[in-house]
Amino acid sequence: MNRNEGSPLTAGAALVWGHQRILWWLFVINLALASWGVHSVVQGAGDILNHSLAAARLVNGFSFGAFQELSNLPSQPLEVTGSRATGMIYFLFVLLITGGILEVYRRDVSLSTADFFGAGARCFWRFVRMCILLLLALIPVALIAWGLFMLANHYYRQSISDAPGLWLHAANIALTLLLMMIVRLWFDMAQVIAVVEDERRARRALGAAFRLLRANFGSLFWLFFRISFITGVVFFGGIAVWVKFIPHSAIAASFIISQLLIVFSLATRLWQRAGEMAWYEQHGAASVTVPIPVDDGPVYASPSLSGDAPEPAPA
């Protein structure tokens, strides 16, 4: 399906499906880094478990007592210290390739590795700045969440029934998720604009994205929300299936379902990115007035803005 055909939701799905290599590479990197991060812990556990009959308490069921004992053995405490580092590496890696991913979805072609990373590198610093601005933008969200949390606690403490406090806590969680989605959507669209319009200045891209979001909030948020909702339902539903239907001793099956959930969550995040790009290509470009910057490098300007500017030939 062409990205300019159909709804952005289906066009986005088609883009993710059509460029699966991105998904699988992301998955492989995510898995490899996670495995590397927990390697020392797993190795330490292996030294304790592989020749011990007591390990059966973790195979034929999962004894929290056995796990607690394993985690707190004074001679070999199982502390996960590598995961934080590998998580940061993954964060930087995704930051680096996001520009390339958006470029692929914009052009709907397979880029060479060099072009892919070149596009990512070109956007890297502007996305770093956007990431910092995103953290700043999340501060008010955090303050609102904290304020509502305190309010909910107050109601919880003061009310004879716990219901008002609990409902307020639930509403706070829902509102916080909603605000986070809106902020994320805003920055997603800024990244789309930064790539499509080659807008180097993060604040200008954010300004344009803000205006775009304000003018088209319904359709954009509906696009983002639907995919987020599907992600949540499938992810937590999948965990429920894992816990309820996969026997404790079926370790290979556990691995498969856990990784399916990971692949799915990666795919849905890419789906959001691709859907946003498709939406922009279909609706947004004409409404954004961003001057075309002068750049020595290749310009992948939107046809809607650059008129007859030819697209570079696919690598």
Partner: protein
Amino acid sequence: MHKWISSVIAVVLLGVLVHAALAQAPARSPDNEEKKPVQNPVVTVPTGPPPLSTRVVAYYIDAQLNPATHTIEGRETLVWKNLTGQPQQDFPFHMYMNAFQPTSTWISEARLSNPDFEWKPTNYGSIEITSINAGALGDLKPSMHFIQPDDNNHDDHSVMQIHLPVAVPPNDQVEFHIQFSDRLPEVVARTGYLRDFYMIGQWFPKVGVWWKGEWNCHQFHHDTEFFADFGTFHVRVTVPKDYVVGAGGDLVDETDNPNGTKSLHFFSADTHDFSWTASPSFRVVTDTWQGSAGPVKIRMLMSPDHASSDDRYLQALKGTLALFDKWYGPYPYDRITVVDPPHGGFQAGGMEYPTLITADTDRLIPRSTLLPEVVVDHEFGHQYWYGMVATNEFEEAWLDEGINSYTEVKTMDAMYGPNVSFVNSGFGTLSESEAQRMGYLGRPDYDPLTRFAWKFIDFPSYGAITYGKTATTLLTLEKLVGEDTMRRAVQTWFMRYRFTHPTGTDFLKTIEEVSGKDLQWYFDQSVSGTAILDYAVEDVRSDPVKWYEAKPPHDAGTMYHSYVVIHRIGDFVFPTDLEVKFENGEVVREQWDGHDRWIRYTYDKPAKILSAEIDPEHQVLLDRNFYNNSYVVKSDTRATNKIAVIYTFVSEVISQAYAWLT
């Protein structure tokens, strides 16, 4: 007629008499400033069934709750019988409510264990004696002074002492008349108020115990509970008319007062404390359980929103009642009240008073987590271990909390299954014994069981040792004497020492007597000592006897020289069983006294060793590390792979959460 029924009738008749006498006192109302001490209406107990306990004290208390100020105005008459065998002139009293003040020992110890201990002005509590006299002996207020027998903290006012002008001769008695005012804290340490809920415990001046030839009246410490003499309690509480009241006594009568309040008169005998609770929001659930000593009225005072816990509490309580009745002895009281604190009131939860316990729940606790059941089971167990076998909780906390944790394991395992008696979810399981053992292993070697409760290095150590280690020690003891013998020993301990103040020595001697074994070596290490028990299979090997001859590796005729080395890593010496399995299906059992630091077993057999395992029945729960108790020659990576799957998945999810910010 059942013996217990006649006892109940006698108690009710006594209560009616007391009430009639109390009714003669002027009616008290908030605006009635006249405060006269309650006259002791009944000094001699009428004839009836013999008391179950040696009744040293008789309290007559008239208390009025003022919800607007969270205060109690009380008048107390205490009749104290001198059964000490010597004249007594000085009397210490517990003034527990004064512990909730910034300069108290209780607070300083709380901050020692946790420097971030949260103190709010609303947590302030106090008890003030406005007058005290002993009838003809005159006003005692001038002689009243605070003492600090434990730590010399002169700012601690949790123990008060008075001096009589003349001593009370042996076998005589003295009547104290006390007027006091309580200022209740916002609920802390299982007492106080929360919104419209009141849990009133440790609220009246309570005389110390003459024990081991001296007064035993410790200050209120952060990690300690209580100790008091048995007797009778005649308590009348006055509360607003819409309040539902529960108490550790039989309700004798209830009267409405013209000023919008009501008074409820309770009577309790052969108990050593009296607590009560009040709230207009309580929902009352009642039931009856038939025990070997007669029917027991169950009354549950449920907080709003906790309806889903009704059945959970009730089933746990009735199951625990039945098992205690069957295993350890009859429950002699005709009542048990379960108080369900409201949300946010966990500080009031999980507490025991005679015939009244507080539970703990939350509407978000899933059915797979048996916390409400565990709390009810545990607190009911205290009716036996504290309520009736009234050990000194200040000095030997392991005798009530520890033995109770052990019986909690036994009863919860029996009711809910041995491997799932704490958590039974799809994610995983946790048994009661595992929970106790994990508690012990959290801080295993700083303090012995026998340490005074406030002298532990900190609160985590107190909890780990007093609850977890005691339970684990007694569970391990089952390996030495057998489960049935342990049950008989605990039953003997109850039947012999109920309504008395026994000691740890009494308990240990009871076990030795019932089992017919000298167990001092075990108690020296587990009860009095801090040694760690840890045996490990150090090495397992099988070599062909004729290793120098080239033969196929699995030739059936090949003889192997095999050996197993066991290493005693810890200092705790304990007899150890070893089970060795060979490839040809042969199983060999060994027993080692465990005294040396290591031992090597050697075998010449036509098969290699498959595995070697210490304690194959998994009875030595004191063992610090279960994983080194066995060695399987052939590596099995399934558990490791499972850990890898879970850790990797979590790590991937965390990485994706980071990446969401890009």
